[in-house]
Structures are given as structure tokens and as C-alpha cells.
Amino acid sequence: MIKNNQLHQTSIRKANKARIFNEFKNYGIAVFLLILFFILWQFATSSSFERLIPKPSTIVQTIIDKWPLLATNSKQTLFEAVVGFLIGTSTGILIAIGFVYSKKFAKSIYPFLVFLQCMPLMALMPLLVLWFGTGLASKVVLITLATFFPTVINVVQGLISLDKPTIEFMETLNASEMQIFWKARVPFSIPYLFTAMRVTVTTAILGAIISEWLWATKGLGAVIVLAMFNAQVEVLWASMALATIFSLLAFSLIVILEKLVIPWHISNQE
């Protein structure tokens, strides 16, 4: 039986290798298409057009030339996004736990949550600036509001996804409500939290930039507004490119974290 198991392991390893190669092939095509796209863009942009759509090389050059300016402002934006994301996610988790353990709480809070979710948050921004000032606070509040709703919805789903036999199993072990929560409910809900974070991490960066459009003096959003008024198209593009790269990196970070924290989950096995 042990020998069989080893044989089995080698064939699993072989299958894994084949799978990784296939995946690489797929990514290879994507990378090739992306490079092709940038090459076409580089050569298709005529000089008359370049006022509005600069060549990729110009955008890269701008990022290099304006690096000190872009770097300080990016730092500001990322700081706001990270703080807002962390507060939004943790508030979301706490409210989700409240939801699952108190029907009364769920029923009384849920309408407000839906109300908040339906409110166009961008329209709320001027009010937030009036209430919390033009500094960090108003931005963090906006990002928190934008990120915590998806967190609540997903984590609630995760916490109630524990099936009845598992609960009964834990009960027959004489496990307390707390033990069932920590040993079973929480681990089973973590994949759902990651689903939420994949969405909210990009929302946080978007929220940070947009909230900087109003009265902000620092941040990528402020740079974008200033560049627009000064008709510095290449700075606009450079900021946009950076924001996209940050979002991509943040998203990838969550995906990598997911593979590390919940390697057992189905989404990480195929």
C-alpha cells in the first residue's frame, strides 16, 4: 500500500509538471499578445495624435523623468488605500460575525447596509470632505465605506456555509459554540474573505485616487487633476499607468497570499 502510494505520488508530480507547462503556454500567449499590443501602439501613434495618446515609450520616459513627484504622491495614495482597506475589511469581518450570531442585529443593520451600498459614494465625497477635512480622514472613510460591504456579504456567506453534519459532528465532540466558531466556521469562511479582498483591494486604490480629486494636494489623484488643468497629457498617462500597476500588484499580492493561506481550497488545486 505504501509502495502504491509512492507510485501514485510520482504520477501526481508528473501530472503537475504537465499542468504547469500548459499553464505557462497559456500565459505565454497572453504575454505575446500584450507585447504585440504595445508594439502596435508604439508605431501606430502618429505625431498629430500624440497630443492625446502618447507612445508607450513616452509614458515610460515620463514616469522616469517625473519619478520623484510620482513616487511621493504614489506613496500617499497607497497609504490611504492600505489604511482604508484594512479598516474596511476588519469592520466588514466584525459586522459579518455580528450578522451570523444575532438575527436581530442582522435584521436591524441590513437595510442600512443596502442603503449605504446604493448611495453613490462619489456623491458623498464632498460631504465627507466637509465633515472630516481635506486630509487623510475623509479619504479613509470613503475607502472604508466602499470596501466593507463586499466584505460583509462574502464573509457572512462563508460563516453560514458550514454544513449541518459538520456542526453536528462538532456538537457530538462536546465542542462549545466558541470552539465550533474558531475550529470550523472561521477556517471554512477564509476562502470567502479572499474572494471579497480580490474585489476590494482594487476598489481601495480606485477610491483613494478618486477621493483625491477634491481639494487634495497630495496623491496620484491630485497629480492627475493638476496635469489635466495644465494639459500635461503624458503625466496623466503616467499616473494612470502607475495606478494600474499598483492595482495589479495589490491584486497579485492577494492571490499569492490566498495560495499561501488556503492551499487546501479547491480554487488553488486545479
Binding site: M1, N5, E168, N174, A184
Partner: protein, 266 residues
């Protein structure tokens, strides 16, 4: 003292369509070191009985005791283990650590009594070498073996098994029946075994409790006087076959009677 004592249990479920009597006046005992199967057509409340014994459901009338104490007290004293149809493995734990889940509710001192015990149980159920594997890498039959190992971890006096092999194919089920007999003969706890497989019930049991459906009542008790230890020869013996045939006849009669009552033909 009987291992499990069931006195006049009645259970009524209130459904949207109105109250339904699931069990009516059920009484039977399971003696120490006895293997009792509960069999009956679907909807006769087999699983409900087991859940009442385990204290997962409360009966509307009657009472249950395990070795003289209430189900909840028995749970505290770890007198029984429950094996579900689903093996219930936590995918973030390896197989060995899944077998150790029951230890999670104990304090450090209590845990010491069971040091090395999980590995022993793993060996007992024939999963040596699979302790570090993920439960996802195991077949359904192997996962159920692990679930049995986990149920035996704390040396329970009573094993409550709710169609543990119900989701397996017949070949695997036969194999695990033989394995269960071998394991049970080593542990000698009392077993209440829910099944809808006649051959399984005959081969495993000292006694079969047959239930009739809607509401569930005890229709018959059949002693299975096959010799111990039960092995493949006994499984294939004429005596076992004859028992299975007579149980099948009785079950068919019960199902037919129930159908006639339901359709109003008396």
C-alpha cells in the same frame, strides 16, 4: 446495564404542511458489546433515532440513556462517538490531524492520555503511511476509514454510525464491512448502525431492528445467529443468504403495507 436504552420515543416534526409524526413509541435496548443495525425503508426515521440517541435531537416523548446517563452527559463523559455518512474531513488538516480533531476540545492534561493514539488508530483502520496526506488525496472509502479511526480515538463505549458506507459503491462497501468487523472485534464497543443495505445489516449485526415507515415504529426484531468472528466465509455462507432473504421479504411486506395504508386501501 444496557449500553443504549430507548424508552417509548415519539418524535413529531412540525413542517410547513403540518405536524408529521416521524417516530412513534419506539423502544429497544442495545446490550454491551452488541452490534445492532436499524434498517427500514427510506423515510422511516432511522437517522432520527440515531440523532436522538446522540442528543442532537430531543424526543417529544420518552427518554434515552447511554450507559445509564442522558445523551448530553454521555457526550461530556465521551461515552459515544458518531460516524456520519459524510466522513467530514477538514481539508486544511492532514489525515492524522483530522483524526485528532476530537482532542481539540480537551485541555492539555486530558490530551496527554491520547498521545500516539491517533497513529495507532490510523494503523488499525489500514491507513498506515497516509497520515501526512491531505484528505483530498484519499478515496471516499479511505476517508470513511479515517472517520472511523477518529471515532475510535477516545475509546468510546458506544459507536453510533449513520449509514457510514451509504455513499460508497458496493465493492468498497463489502470491503469496509469486513474491515469494520475486524476493527470492531478489536475494540468491542457497542454499535448502533443505521443502514438501508440488507446484506450489510445481516453480516454486521447481532440483532436487526426493522422499522416501518410513517410513522416509524419497530416492526420486527431479528436475531442474527451467525458465528463470530465474522469473516468473508460467513459473509458468503448459506445461512447469511437465508437471513438476507427473510429480511428482504419482511421489508417488502412492510413497504407494501405502508403503501396500501397511504393510498387508503385497507
Amino acid at each position: 446495564m444496557p449500553a443504549v436504552e430507548i424508552n417509548n420515543i415519539t418524535k413529531i416534526f412540525s413542517l410547513k404542511t403540518g405536524p408529521v409524526t416521524a417516530l412513534s413509541n419506539i423502544s429497544f435496548n442495545v446490550e454491551e458489546k452488541e452490534f445492532v443495525s436499524v434498517i427500514g425503508p427510506s423515510g422511516c426515521g432511522k437517522s432520527t433515532i440515531l440523532r436522538i440517541i446522540a442528543g442532537l435531537l430531543k424526543p417529544d416523548e420518552g427518554d434515552v440513556s447511554i450507559l445509564g446517563v442522558t445523551p448530553l452527559e454521555a457526550r461530556k463523559q465521551r461515552l459515544y462517538s458518531f460516524v456520519f455518512q459524510d466522513p467530514i474531513m477538514f481539508p486544511w488538516r492532514n489525515v492524522l490531524s483530522n483524526i485528532e480533531i476530537p482532542l481539540e476540545v480537551l485541555n492539555r492534561n486530558e490530551r496527554k492520555q491520547y498521545a500516539g493514539r491517533a497513529q495507532e488508530m490510523l494503523d488499525l483502520v489500514g491507513l498506515q503511511g497516509f497520515g501526512a496526506a491531505s484528505p483530498n488525496q484519499l478515496s471516499g472509502g479511505m476517508r470513511q476509514r479515517a472517520a472511523i479511526a477518529r471515532a475510535l480515538l477516545m475509546r468510546p463505549e458506544v459507536l453510533l454510525m449513520d449509514e457510514p458506507f451509504g455513499a460508497l459503491d458496493e465493492i468498497n462497501r463489502d470491503k469496509l464491512n469486513l474491515e469494520l468487523m475486524r476493527i470492531w472485534q478489536e475494540t468491542e464497543s457497542s454499535v448502533v448502525f443505521i443502514t438501508h443495505s440488507i446484506e450489510e445489516a445481516v453480516f454486521l449485526s447481532d440483532r436487526i431492528i426493522m422499522l416501518s415507515p410513517r410513522p416509524g415504529t419497530v416492526a420486527a426484531e431479528i436475531n442474527i445467529d451467525l458465528p463470530h468472528p465474522r469473516n468473508i466465509e460467513i459473509k458468503q455462507s448459506e445461512a447469511a443468504f437465508n437471513y438476507a432473504t427473510s429480511v428482504r421479504k419482511m421489508l417488502n411486506q412492510i413497504t407494501l403495507d405502508a403503501l396500501l395504508v397511504e393510498s387508503g386501501v385497507n
